[in-house]
Each structure stands twice: as structure tokens, then as C-alpha cells.
């Protein structure tokens, strides 16, 4: 009888029509909501919110902190929809009240076969999506955390695991695979957002006999080119732009003669079929682990007097690139960091002009950039008002050694190693670049222990948010790079910030090593008494 009453009550609670997240909502870009890892398909990570300005950023205060149990080195970039925030850690997703940080629900896959970092969630309809470390895509009900479906899209015994935030493009969830430093074969896959069915899969290393396979010796099945990060998307061209990882073994190329296509590249893939329309390889036959795991930022700007669809790409190999994203044509490159010595420049075809003697050797070879790269996974941002690209860079050199040992997949072998001089620890520098030339407009040098990797978010309020390698969240003037505000978070920061609004108030959120934080402008709090609670039978 009680069940009948319960159902009757439930049916009486008829709520207003439920607002689902539509593809068009993501297409519209960020506003109060932040619906995809980079905020928009362009990867510009720029928000039109302007409540926080250069004039008032000095009065930012922390609003809440949510500690994630057992977290260690969070990389998650939150997404926010209608006041609910979704953050991820290894095999776990949390839904939080974005105004208070209160937990609404959590989903924990306790039986996953691996643990590892996770970069974030995606949202479409009533589903939120994330990947488990052991290569499952999970669709959860955004409201309740209920499992809608779970799809395995890769095998861990093939050296794979997963770290990236999925990307929603129309009705597809685009996912990738990690693991390129110990042997695996990378790919990008599209999965039906409603059913979990895999629709296409494009490998980042051609199979034997396919065009491009001649750029490898016999490592087609284990040569790496992982897809650690998600990519960006041009809806008009219907093209996904996906970065690929380094070839394996990382530091020894003797058993993989050739350019090793399509490692260290950006791939332009047709959304409907996965077919590669073009590719651009930044570092042919890489031997320094300079994968292309950075964000392809899409902008429409005049280039040499003509409007052009461009792709901006700060690369780990030390160079900054401008490509035509319709055709993949190389347009321009310049040094992203000062410390680049393995190539004297980039030629007219976009190929590095090599400096001899910079390959790793058994005894060690000093080369710049260092193994962490001139930039890496932290998100750059582009502010249309200032016309500047903001990108975290690292000035560093390393000593690279190699080993000609026969490569054995999934045994932790990477073909060598890396050492670093105590006298040359390196330095993080946040740089603002003129996008079509790469010319530096301002830079902010950091002086911490050179252990971090924070990204950036740009706002229409003229404020850039990022962090330094000493645990500070920073607000910087988008035009000048002056520090407007700082907050010591007490932990290493290796994630990218976002901004969102709830109830007309703008927030900035970022993950530190073990917690998710949200900041907003100071508001005096009026005295309050908690509402009375009556417990009834």
C-alpha cells in the first residue's frame, strides 16, 4: 500500500519540462554554462562573462573548495550546466552545486582495471560522459548519476588507457586513447552519444601496406601516436582537429626509420566518417618525446590581408605554428620559447631544419626544449577583444640518453631517459602572442620550483586567469600581463581554469592537486539563521 502512495506522490510532482543540453547549446559557446572542455569548439577558452573586470579582480575571494578523496594531481577541467558542476578524477565523477560546492551525487567505478588521471567530462542531452582509465566510455544521467550505458572502446592489454575529456560533436562522442610511451597504437573513435555504439575508428598509425606505413619499420602495431587529449572542431567544415602523441620508443629511433606518420601531428578528420582530410606533422621522426599534445586553437582572422580560417598551435617542440585549417597548409612558424636548439627554424613546407648532433645518445645529449616541452596539455586561450593568444610556456633544456635495446611493449621501456642540470632548472613563462605572427606582446615570468602545468581562461572582463608553479591562482590584465590578484592554493596546479555564472554571479573555477575550487567577487554576508527542520513520519 505504501508503494502506491509513494508512486502517487511521485506522479503528483510534475515538474516543468526538463531542459536538455543540445548540440546547439555547445555550438553557441560559453556563457553562464561551460559545456565542453575548452569552453567552445574553437578551443579559444574565452568567456563573454564580464562581471569580473580588471578594475574589481582585486576583490576576488574563494567561494568554496571541494576536496576529492584520494586525489593526487588532478587534471580535471570542470563543466557547468544550469548551476551543476561536473568534475572527474580517476574512474570517478562528481556532480556539485556550483554555487556552494556541495556534492549532489558521485559515480565511482570501483572495478576498473586501472587508475590514472582524468581530464574531464562532456555533456549532451541528459547524459554526462567520461572515460575510465581502462578505456570505457560511461554515460551517466546528468541529474542523478544513474548509469545509462557503458562501452569499452579499447583493450588495456594492447597498452591502452584513457585520460582525455570526451568531445561531443553533433550526436557523437569523440574519444581517444593514451599510453604512447610504452608501446601501443593510437586512435580516435566516434561513439553514438545515445546508444554507445562505436561508429568509426581512425588509427593514428597506418596499418602495414596503407599509405604512410612506409614511414615506419615494423612498429605499426606498437608505435604510439597516442591521443592523450581531446581536440577541437569546426562545425562549418565538419572537421575534427586532433593532436597525436610521440612515436615509440620515445628516445631511440633506430628501429623506426622514417617520419613515423602520423605521430607528433594534428589530424583533420571528417566528423561523419573519421576519414583524414589532411594532416600536419610538426616533428617528423621525433626522438625527444615532443608529442603534439597541445590544443589546436581555431580563429578566423585576416592573414596577409585576407580573411582566413586559421589554426594556432603552440607545440612542445619549441615552435609556434599558424596553419590554414581548411587545407592544412603551413603558413608560418616562429620560436615559441627562447630555448630551442634542435632545429634552426621551420622551412617553407613546415618541416624543421635540423641541427646535427641533437639526437639522444647513450652518453647523453643536451637539447632544448626539455622533455616536458615548450608547452604541453594546459589550455591556451584567445581573447577576441585584445586579439591575443595566451599560452603557458616552459624555458628548459634536458640531457637526453638513448638505448638501442630491442623494444618490448608494455614493459615500461621508452628507449632511453632524461636528465636535468641543477643549474638549469628552467622557468615557466605565461606569454601573450600576436596570433598570426607569434610575436610576443607581453610575458609573465614565474619563479617557483618548475613543477606545474596550469592552463588559462580568457574573459570579456579583460582578465586572464592562470596559475603559477608556486601554487598561486592568478588574475592578469589581458592587455598588459600585470597581476591583478593572486591566491595561494597551497598545492601544485596542473589543470586549466574555467569561468561560469549562476544566479547572475560570475565564478572562476580550477582544480588543484587534490581539490576543486571556485572563486567570485567578495560579497558581505548578511546575518542568517538556518531554516528550521521538522522531521515527520
Amino acid at each position: 500500500m505504501r508503494m502506491d502512495r509513494t508512486l502517487a506522490w511521485a506522479c503528483a510532482l510534475c515538474a516543468a519540462a526538463v531542459a536538455q543540453v543540445k548540440y546547439e547549446d555547445i555550438l553557441a559557446g560559453p556563457g553562464a554554462n561551460w559545456l565542453t572542455y575548452a569552453g567552445s569548439y574553437s578551443g579559444q577558452r574565452h568567456s563573454p562573462l564580464r562581471q569580473i573586470t580588471a578594475a574589481n579582480a582585486g576583490s576576488l575571494v574563494p567561494k568554496w573548495t571541494f576536496h576529492i578523496p584520494k586525489a593526487n594531481g588532478l587534471r580535471t577541467s570542470p563543466i557547468v550546466y544550469q548551476g551543476m558542476m561536473y568534475v572527474t578524477d580517476s574512474n570517478t565523477m562528481y556532480a556539485l552545486d556550483a554555487r556552494t560546492g556541495r556534492l549532489v551525487w558521485e559515480y565511482r567505478d570501483t572495478r576498473a582495471k586501472k587508475t590514472g588521471v582524468n581530464r574531464g567530462a562532456a555533456i549532451l542531452g541528459d547524459n554526462v560522459y567520461f572515460v575510465t582509465a581502462d578505456v570505457h566510455l560511461v554515460a551517466l544521467d546528468r541529474r542523478t548519476g544513474a548509469v545509462r550505458w557503458q562501452t569499452k572502446y579499447g583493450e588495456i592489454d594492447k597498452g591502452l588507457f584513457s585520460t582525455a575529456a570526451p568531445l561531443i560533436a553533433k550526436d557523437k562522442v569523440i574519444v581517444g586513447v593514451a599510453g604512447g610511451d610504452t608501446g601501443m597504437r593510437g586512435y580516435v573513435a566516434a561513439i553514438n552519444a545515445h546508444t554507445g555504439e562505436e561508429l568509426w575508428r581512425t588509427y593514428t598509425i597506418p596499418a602495414k601496406g596503407e599509405p604512410g606505413s612506409e614511414t615506419w619499420s615494423d612498429l605499426h602495431d606498437w608505435g604510439g601516436a597516442a591521443t592523450w587529449l581531446s581536440g577541437t572542431f569546426d562545425p562549418e567544415l565538419n572537421l575534427l582537429y586532433w593532436p597525436t602523441g610521440n612515436p615509440w620508443p620515445d628516445f631511440y629511433g633506430g628501429n623506426r626509420a622514417g617520419d613515423n606518420l602520423y605521430s607528433c601531428s594534428v589530424l583533420a578528420l571528417d566528423l561523419d566518417t573519421g576519414k583524414m582530410k589532411w594532416y600536419f606533422q610538426f616533428t617528423p621522426h621525433d626522438t625527444h618525446d615532443w608529442d603534439a599534445q597541445a590544443w589546436p586553437v581555431l580563429v578566423d582572422l585576416p592573414y596577409q590581408g585576407k580573411p582566413r580560417k586559421l589554426m594556432l598551435y603552440g607545440n612542445r617542440n619549441g615552435f609556434y605554428y599558424v596553419l590554414d585549417r581548411v587545407t592544412g597548409q603551413f603558413l608560418h612558424a616562429t620560436k615559441l620559447v627562447d630555448n630551442v636548439d634542435w632545429a634552426s627554424g621551420i622551412d617553407a613546407n613546415g618541416r624543421p631544419v635540423l641541427v646535427p648532433g641533437k639526437d639522444p645518445t647513450p652518453g647523453g645529449t643536451r637539447a632544448c626544449p626539455g622533455v616536458m616541452g615548450a608547452t604541453n596539455w594546459p589550455s591556451p586561450s584567445f581573447n577576441p577583444a585584445t586579439g591575443l593568444l595566451y599560452i603557458m610556456t616552459l624555458e628548459q633544456c634536458d640531457v637526453y640518453t638513448s638505448s638501442a635495446k630491442e623494444p618490448e611493449p608494455a614493459k615500461g621501456f621508452s628507449g632511453g631517459g632524461v636528465g636535468r642540470s641543477k643549474e638549469e632548472p628552467g622557468q615557466y613563462v605565461l606569454r601573450a602572442l600576436e596570433p598570426t605572427t607569434g610575436k610576443r606582446v607581453w610575458e609573465y615570468r614565474m619563479n617557483g620550483p618548475v613543477s606545474a602545468w596550469p592552463g588559462t581562461v580568457s574573459t570579456a572582463g579583460g582578465v586572464i586567469f592562470s596559475a603559477d608553479d608556486d601554487g598561486h591562482l592568478l588574475a592578469l590584465d589581458a592587455r598588459t600581463g600585470k597581476v591583478l590578484w593572486r591566491y595561494q592554493m597551497g598545492e601544485v596546479i596542473a589543470a586549466s581554469p574555467i569561468t561560469y555564472a549562476v544566479d547572475g554571479k560570475q565564478y572562476v573555477s580550477i582544480a588543484s592537486a587534490t581539490a576543486v575550487w571556485s572563486f567570485g567577487l567578495f560579497e558581505p554576508q548578511p546575518p542568517m539563521s538556518p531554516p528550521p527542520v521538522r522531521v515527520v513520519r
Partner: protein, 275 residues
């Protein structure tokens, strides 16, 4: 070269984008053969009944000694630590050491482990088809609980019930919904300062905000500044009379069905044996 900090790591690229992950990858140890073995668990059950159940209860429900099932306490013990606790006891407490050879201690360890294992790994016997019929029919479970996108949203989703909860927990939740003392999922009514009420199921609350879920499953995040008063049901909206609604065999079948609801397949020898 003296001035170099060498980082010849197993994965030399461990400072690279994703390779930081490689060091985090969990590699489980190979368990003792008794863990998950149906015969060892059955032998362990008999030993447990004779030597341990007096304090811990026949199914680990607790009594004079702590609850061993879903207690959260021994979850932090790995197999080795659990074995040592059973073999040597806990000094200065009433928990004595077992006077048994290692083989038998491992059998008891396997049994205690199975008590709190996810149900899918130690699934109880039962008629699964009948259990499914009960879930969607006579039991009325699907009216409130969801399974893989079907069913209701007025109670916890059960798609991964067997992958998360032990069979004992599932059984207890059916026959005594209030055994789990959490407030979540109870009916809550908020009287608002602006007038009117908002009703739903409680997901979370403190003195400064309430998060509730309405009949459509939608979440409402309500700050305390809008709330005049909170009325919270004392007990779970789930019926408490399943002992009367269903007979013992039907409850067994329902638990057996729920035990097999998992987003991942079973892996233990026990589950593979079809028990």
C-alpha cells in the same frame, strides 16, 4: 655530469603529457588462490560458523564483535592484513587469534572477503528470470529504481548495484530500507520565503543550502536564504513491508537478480562457477 639530476625512469617520458599517468597505473597483486574460490569460501563459511559467528554473526552482521559486512572497516585491509588479523587476533581486545593452520585461515579470509565483496563477484543463487519479473512486476521496484536508463528516478539507480554492493547489503536494503541511516532519498518539502513549496527527494543538505530532486529527476539547488522551513520525512519512501509482500524465495530471487546488475562482468572464480 656530476651536476645532473638523472631521471632515468622506467618510463623516461614520465614528465611528458600523459606519461605522468603511467606511474599512476594500478597493478593489482595476484591474490591468494583461496580468495574467490568457491570451495575455499564454503570451507571458510563452516569454519567461520564454528569459530567466529558467535561474536560477528553468521553472515557477518555483527553483534558482540564488529560488523564485517559492508562495515567499511575491513575494506581498508588487504587480503594479507585480513589473514593476519584472523590468524593472530587483535592484541588487547576480545578478538583472539585463530588456532588453525594457514590453509584454514585463508579459507576464513576468503569467506570474510566474500561477505563484503561486490555481489557480482559472489552472487547468491536464485531464479534470475523470476527475479527480473519481480523487479518490474509484483515487487514494483522499477517504478522508483532505474536499470540502464529504464525505470524510475525516485530511488537509487541499480544498474551497478551488484558491482558496488554486497549481496547482504542488497538483501538488507530490501527488507529494511531504513537500515542505511542516510537522509538522502527521503521526501523533503521546502516552504519558500517567496511563497509556495518545493517538494522532492533530498540529495544533500546543510544549514546553507538544500539539493533536491523532483519527480522528473531534475535537480534543484536551493539556497537557505530562500527557505522558510524544511520538512523532512523520517523514513525512506521505500516500502518497509517487503517481508510481507514477497515470500522468502521471491526475496532470494530478487537479490540474485540485483546481484548480477553490474556495468562490468564478474571476474572471481566464485562468480565464474555460477554460484
Amino acid at each position: 655530469m656530476k651536476s645532473l639530476i638523472w631521471m632515468r625512469l622506467a618510463a623516461g617520458a614520465s614528465l611528458a603529457a600523459g606519461a605522468l599517468v603511467a606511474a599512476d597505473v594500478h597493478k593489482p597483486k595476484t591474490p591468494h588462490p583461496a580468495i574467490g574460490d568457491p570451495e575455499a569460501i564454503e570451507a571458510g563459511r563452516k569454519l567461520f560458523s564454528a569459530g567466529c559467528a558467535g561474536c560477528h554473526g553468521l553472515t557477518g552482521e555483527g553483534g558482540r564483535g564488529p560488523k564485517l559486512r559492508d562495515s567499511g572497516m575491513w575494506h581498508s585491509l588487504d587480503d594479507e592484513a585480513l589473514f593476519k588479523t584472523i590468524k593472530f587476533g587483535i592484541p588487547n581486545t576480545e578478538m583472539p587469534g585463530s588456532n588453525q593452520p594457514d590453509e584454514k585461515v585463508w579459507q576464513m579470509t576468503a569467506f570474510v572477503k566474500a561477505l563484503g565483496s561486490p555481489a557480482i563477484e559472489a552472487p547468491p543463487p536464485g531464479d534470475l528470470r523470476r527475479g527480473e519479473e519481480l523487479f518490474w512486476g509484483k515487487g514494483g521496484c522499477g517504478g522508483c529504481h532505474g536499470l540502464r536508463g529504464k525505470g524510475g528516478k525516485y530511488g537509487p539507480d541499480l544498474t551497478n548495484a551488484g558491482g558496488l554492493r554486497s549481496a547482504g547489503f542488497l538483501r538488507e536494503s530490501i527488507i529494511d530500507p531504513d537500515a542505511d541511516a542516510t537522509e538522502a532519498w527521503r521526501k523533503v518539502t521546502l516552504a519558500l520565503h517567496e511563497g509556495g513549496v518545493r517538494e522532492g527527494l533530498l540529495r544533500n543538505r546543510n544549514n546553507f543550502s538544500v539539493q533536491l530532486q523532483d519527480a522528473q529527476g531534475e535537480i534543484h539547488l536551493v539556497p537557505a536564504s530562500r527557505i522558510k522551513s524544511v520538512t523532512l520525512a523520517k523514513s525512506s519512501p521505500m516500502p518497509a513491508d517487503y517481508r510481507q509482500r514477497l515470500d522468502r524465495k521471491e526475496i532470494d530471487d530478487l537479490v540474485a537478480f540485483l546481484s548480477r546488475q553490474s556495468v562490468r562482468p564478474a571476474e572471481s572464480a566464485l562468480a565464474r562457477a555460477g554460484r
